[in-house]
């Protein structure tokens, strides 16, 4: 069986949860909470083992899921059975609301990309025209201050934007296989280290290594390593072996 881990980066706990529900093709109104909780925590552990920073919200959600799970295990008191709320209700409402905006953002995203190739003209001609008129005798200093104030605000915002490392979305082994296959040629030995030099995320390097293993298993490439921890050299297999 081919290795088929697909690591995705999720925008938040709701995004991850929603993905798990979709993947398992389960009814959002009747979530098998024990199963989903298990998968959710499994994913968090995987991320942790790959050293990926998780926002604290992911852990809060894990706790919430566990609380819901335990509530559902409690036997219901017979007289309360009818008007007792399902402990999953609040979560379902949140998920539905999130789903709605996730879908809307896809639609809006398409509109944005469709519009990227429509260009607008700069206001340069109009600016030049306005500046071509004679200056008045006096300009209120307030206008100048206001302009500077606005620019100042913008530069403050710039400082506030945190530039976090962004991991490539939907990094897959299949894509890496194609990428590596493109880089190496059949004539020359290429160093694996060289291929991964430009990757700055640990995740991408791990996936590349998994891709390498897959290529070896399928006998698509030859590999040699002179000693332990030494340089790994690879090249394409010229003839496809009969399998």
């Amino acid at each position: 069986m081919p290795i088929s881990i697909k690591l995705e980066v999720f925008e938040g706990p709701l995004d991850l949860l929603f993905h798990l529900i979709e993947k398992a093709k389960i009814d959002i109104y009747d979530i098998p909470i024990a199963k989903i909780t298990e998968q959710y925590i499994e994913y968090l552990n995987l991320m942790k083992s790959l050293d990926i920073d998780l926002a604290s919200e992911f852990l809060v959600m894990a706790a919430t899921l566990l609380v819901i799970k335990s509530k559902m295990l409690l036997p219901k008191r017979p007289n309360e059975e009818e008007n007792e709320e399902d402990p999953r209700d609040e979560l379902v409402i949140k998920l539905l609301e999130y789903k709605k905006f996730k879908e809307l953002s896809d639609i809006l995203g398409d509109k944005y990309s469709n519009n990227l190739k429509s260009l607008f003209k700069s206001t340069e001609l109009a600016d030049a025209l306005i500046d071509s008129y004679e200056l008045p005798n006096e300009i209120p200093i307030g206008l100048l201050v206001e302009k500077f104030q606005n620019i100042f605000k913008k530069s403050e915002i710039h400082k506030k934007i945190e530039y976090k490392k962004v991991y490539k979305d939907n990094l897959t082994i299949d894509e890496k296989i194609i990428e590596i296959f493109k880089i190496i040629s059949s004539e020359r030995w290429t160093s694996f280290e060289k291929i991964i030099t430009f990757y700055d995320s640990k995740l991408e390097i791990i996936i590349s290594f998994l891709a390498l293993l897959e290529l070896i298993k399928n006998k698509k490439i030859c590999v040699k390593q002179a000693r332990n921890f030494g340089e790994i050299l690879l090249k394409k297999n010229r003839v496809l072996p009969n399998t």
Binding site: F101, L108, L116, L119
Partner: protein
């Protein structure tokens, strides 16, 4: 002033301005009521959709602006190498769509729906002039209310906020 002259003058104005020009300014300029002028502009818009034209007129909040037709982007790109508008991340798009549909709304509300903090997305969207502060909520702490900008409409090809994709089509 006949219709041909009005159209010609409009072409001049939209060319020089670059930015969008409000219908009400044009109506005052030509001394023609807005309804009639709007009809003339709509006619002009249709003419620009023809094959020989590379430009089109778009409407944003009852203002008009020239834009290039996307199918000719490759030529402009080859000749001028314009700086491409940056794409938007999924996180930014999520934040933006919540603000677009719920506006005016607070950061706390956006955070609640997304299930994560949206601070850096918000700053980025302000920086890109897609959202802006539109006031303060009358509630403890007087939190800032955010709404979308005119630039948002322009970059997403929307005439006005009522042109936003119908939310009811999404809800199932």
């Amino acid at each position: 002033m006949n219709i041909k002259k009005i159209k010609a003058a409009l072409e001049c104005i939209l060319f020089i301005s670059g930015d969008s020009v409000p219908l009400k300014d044009l109506s005052a300029l030509f001394d023609i009521d807005k309804t009639t002028l709007k009809r003339i502009i709509n006619q002009m818009m249709d003419e620009y959709e023809g094959d020989e034209r590379g430009l089109r007129i778009i409407e944003i909040n009852s203002s008009y602006q020239f834009t290039t037709k996307p199918q000719y982007y490759e030529y402009i790109e080859k000749l001028f190498k314009p700086r491409a508008r940056a794409g938007l991340s999924q996180a930014s798009l999520e934040t933006l769509s919540i603000i677009a549909y719920k506006q005016p709304t607070t950061k706390a509300n956006v955070d609640a729906i997304r299930g994560v903090k949206s601070d850096s997305c918000l700053y980025r969207l302000i920086d890109k002039d897609l959202i802006k502060e539109v006031g303060r909520m009358e509630a403890p702490g007087r939190p800032i209310l955010y709404g979308t900008t005119e630039n948002f409409l322009r970059l997403f090809g929307l005439k006005s906020l009522s042109d936003l994709p119908d939310i009811s089509n999404v809800q199932d």
